[in-house]
């Protein structure tokens, strides 16, 4: 056993990289759930973002364009869910699952010719001055731009939800859609936009996996990250900054188990690779045992204006 092979600076640096896709998806889903809709299609939107981002990045040789198209693709896919759930009043759980199945199918179909190619990846961005701080500089301030973008999105979502009128309206719709409707807010339109925002964030998260974390395309490469993002929303009690904590904790566990695998610890690989899921379940149990505080009251309930 060689624990000395695990360098704490590198561990934290790679933790931030491994947490970013989940963080992006989770912050998007937080907004969706705050508006009162449960979208279980996160995994599907992530993988479509991953494949679309990868294909455009390879063809344009520009990862930034890859991220933009991935966000658009995620948002477009989420409009299917939004139309079905909001306009055709379909069951949210089943529709979200359907979206995941469709997303996995689309991505496998589109990605087939791109298997085994390496993508252009993001350059790491040394923040001036801060990056020169010993230890912390390398640990926190010399990542690629998307790591900071994801934290920025968390900050923006937090500010918008807490301090702006738009955020207040969104929360009102999620807490009591009938009252919000009676006040004249466009429940359907607000939810539609929230779902599209969630789709775009999931798309970004997926593209981060295929363009930065792995940088390659393999079928089904999100491997449950979307589901973990959903669990992190619950863990975070629907609070933006707590999704950051949740995602980084989870990223830490993932990186640690990968490091333990590499260090050749006498625990079989299969047990290590199932550990993130077991720990997520354990965390969900602890959170829910205290009562799901902060869950939007209208979460998952269908809205029909004429009643």
């Amino acid at each position: 056993m060689d624990f000395l092979g695990i360098n704490p600076v590198l561990l934290i640096a790679s933790l931030m990289v491994s947490a970013t896709p989940i963080l992006l998806a989770a912050i998007g889903e937080t907004v969706v759930e705050k508006s009162g809709v449960l979208n279980l299609g996160v995994e599907g939107m992530m993988i479509v973002g991953a494949v679309v981002g990868f294909i455009t990045a390879v063809n344009t040789e520009n990862p930034a364009i890859g991220f933009v198209t991935a966000a658009i693709a995620g948002a477009l896919l989420s409009t299917i869910f939004a139309t079905l759930v909001l306009h055709l009043k379909s069951n949210q759980v089943a529709t979200g699952l359907g979206l995941t199945l469709v997303g996995l199918g689309i991505s496998a179909l589109l990605g087939k010719p791109y298997e085994g190619i390496k993508s252009p990846t993001l350059q790491s961005l040394d923040i001036p001055i801060l990056a020169d701080i010993p230890i912390f500089g390398r640990m926190l301030f010399s990542h690629d731009a998307m790591v900071y973008v994801s934290i920025l999105i968390v900050g923006l979502v937090w500010y918008t939800l807490k301090y702006t009128r738009a955020g207040l309206v969104l929360r009102a719709v999620g807490e009591n859609h009938d009252a919000a409707h009676a006040l004249g807010y466009k429940v359907i339109r607000i939810r539609f936009l929230a779902i599209m925002f969630g789709g775009a964030c999931s798309g970004l998260g997926g593209a981060y996996i295929s363009l930065v974390r792995v940088p390659q395309w393999t079928e089904g490469m999100t491997a449950g990250a979307g589901w973990i993002a959903l669990a992190i929303v619950v863990f975070a009690s629907w609070k933006p900054w707590r999704t950051l904590i949740g995602a980084y904790l989870f990223g830490g566990i993932t990186v640690l188990q990968l490091n333990l695998q590499a260090a050749g610890v006498a625990i079989p690989v299969e047990y290590l690779s199932m550990s993130p899921f077991l720990i997520t379940i354990a965390v969900l149990v602890i959170i829910s045992a205290r009562g799901n505080q902060g869950a939007p009251a209208s979460l998952g309930r269908p809205f029909h204006a004429s009643n």
Binding site: L101, V102, G105, A108, Y271, M274, F277, L278, A289, H304
Partner: protein, 359 residues
């Protein structure tokens, strides 16, 4: 202005008609997709839906395959539909299917090479227990700690896949397999082999169990108090609580029955058509069964028909891969689209369309 008006009772006619419309819409959208892939759309649809049953060259092979594929789908979907009716979402049937297979195969491999008529029934019990135990994890967490069963049951699929990979390379590995991962082949172990009951029909014990499950579910949902409680919980949870229905008991019942049936499906698969535990033994039946349950309108007879149709898309899809070089993923997408179209047309069951101004 088009707007929707809620029906007092779901329409009976549209309940039957909408799945058919959804299938037709999927064929149209699928045809467009096949055309976009540069394949002849009409021919592709014919190969998927018609040739496996009626083409003189393929039908003799594919007709039995229809039952082989439909058996596990129906068995799992019947269990899931009971929970879905009550608003209890077990979406981790894939994991329960894997655990059923592992438990069932473990009994056979432990007994190898003993010869006994009791072995196969023991495997059936063990397989059902494996799936049941795996489903009891989300059930207990939901009832004790109010943990969301959707997320837990799904996470456990990934855990089950890891366990499968582990036992295929360790505990259950074939000692005479020259070091390759994978267990002994149960097809070569007569006491454990889930052979066809009628030769060349595809009718193995799993298919028979699926038919029995359809009948039992039908009787339970229409004639038995438990079926009434399930429907009451789904349609009017408050009324269910006032009438003294125990949520805890119902959650444990619904997750337990769906887990046990998924476990049975896995066990029949590993001892029959598949034959051995391998790293990639599971093939997504647990997820496709969710589509089957919805396509069948959560009704046992509907699920029977939907299971056969979905099995047809599997076999027809394989045929289309062979004949037209259609990518395998397009069939997966086809199945996913079917679920979305079905949910989209669902609105006609519960709502009436009114054209013109609001009343």
């Amino acid at each position: 202005m088009i707007h929707f008006e809620k029906r007092l009772n779901p329409s009976r006619i549209t309940t039957v008609v909408t799945p058919i419309i959804a299938v037709i819409l999927t064929m149209i959208a699928g045809g467009i997709m096949f055309a976009a892939l540069g394949k002849p759309p009409l021919e592709a649809i014919r190969i998927i839906f018609w040739d496996p049953l009626f083409d003189p060259n393929f039908a003799s092979y594919s007709r039995p395959q229809l039952l082989v594929k439909a058996g596990p789908l129906i068995l799992i979907a019947i269990g899931l539909s009971i929970g879905f009716k009550a608003g209890i979402w077990n979406i981790g049937a894939e994991g329960q299917y894997i655990m059923g297979a592992v438990f069932g195969a473990a009994v056979a491999l432990a007994a190898y090479p003993a010869d006994s008529v009791l072995l196969f029934p023991a495997m059936v019990v063990s397989g059902a227990c494996g799936g049941w135990l795996w489903a009891m994890i989300p059930a207990i967490l939901r009832t004790k700690f109010n943990t969301n069963e959707i997320l837990v049951s799904l996470m456990l699929v990934y855990v089950a896949e890891s366990i499968l990979a582990s036992v295929a390379q360790g505990l259950l590995k074939n000692p005479e397999g020259y070091g390759f991962p994978g267990s002994r082949n149960l097809q070569q172990y007569p006491s454990a082999f889930n052979a066809e009951v009628i030769a060349n029909s595809g009718m193995h014990w799993g298919v028979i169990s699926a038919f029995i499950a359809v009948i039992c579910a039908y009787v339970m949902m229409t004639r038995h108090i438990r079926g009434f409680e399930v429907r009451l919980m789904g349609e009017a949870p408050k009324a269910a609580r006032f009438s003294g229905t125990s949520t805890t008991r119902l959650v444990v019942f619904c997750l337990g029955i769906s887990g046990a049936l998924a476990g049975l499906a896995g066990m029949f698969e590993v001892s029959g058509p598949s034959g051995q535990i391998t790293i990639d033994f599971n093939s997504g039946y647990g997820f496709t069964a969710i589509i089957v349950a919805f396509l069948g309108r959560l009704h046992p007879i509907g699920i029977l028909l939907a299971g056969l149709l979905m099995a047809l898309t599997y076999i027809g899809g394989e045929l289309a891969q062979l004949m037209l070089g259609l990518p395998g993923a397009s069939i997966q997408l086809f199945q996913g689209m079917l679920l979305l179209f079905l949910l989209a047309t669902d609105i006609f069951t519960n709502y009436r369309i009114r054209i013109g101004g609001a009343k």
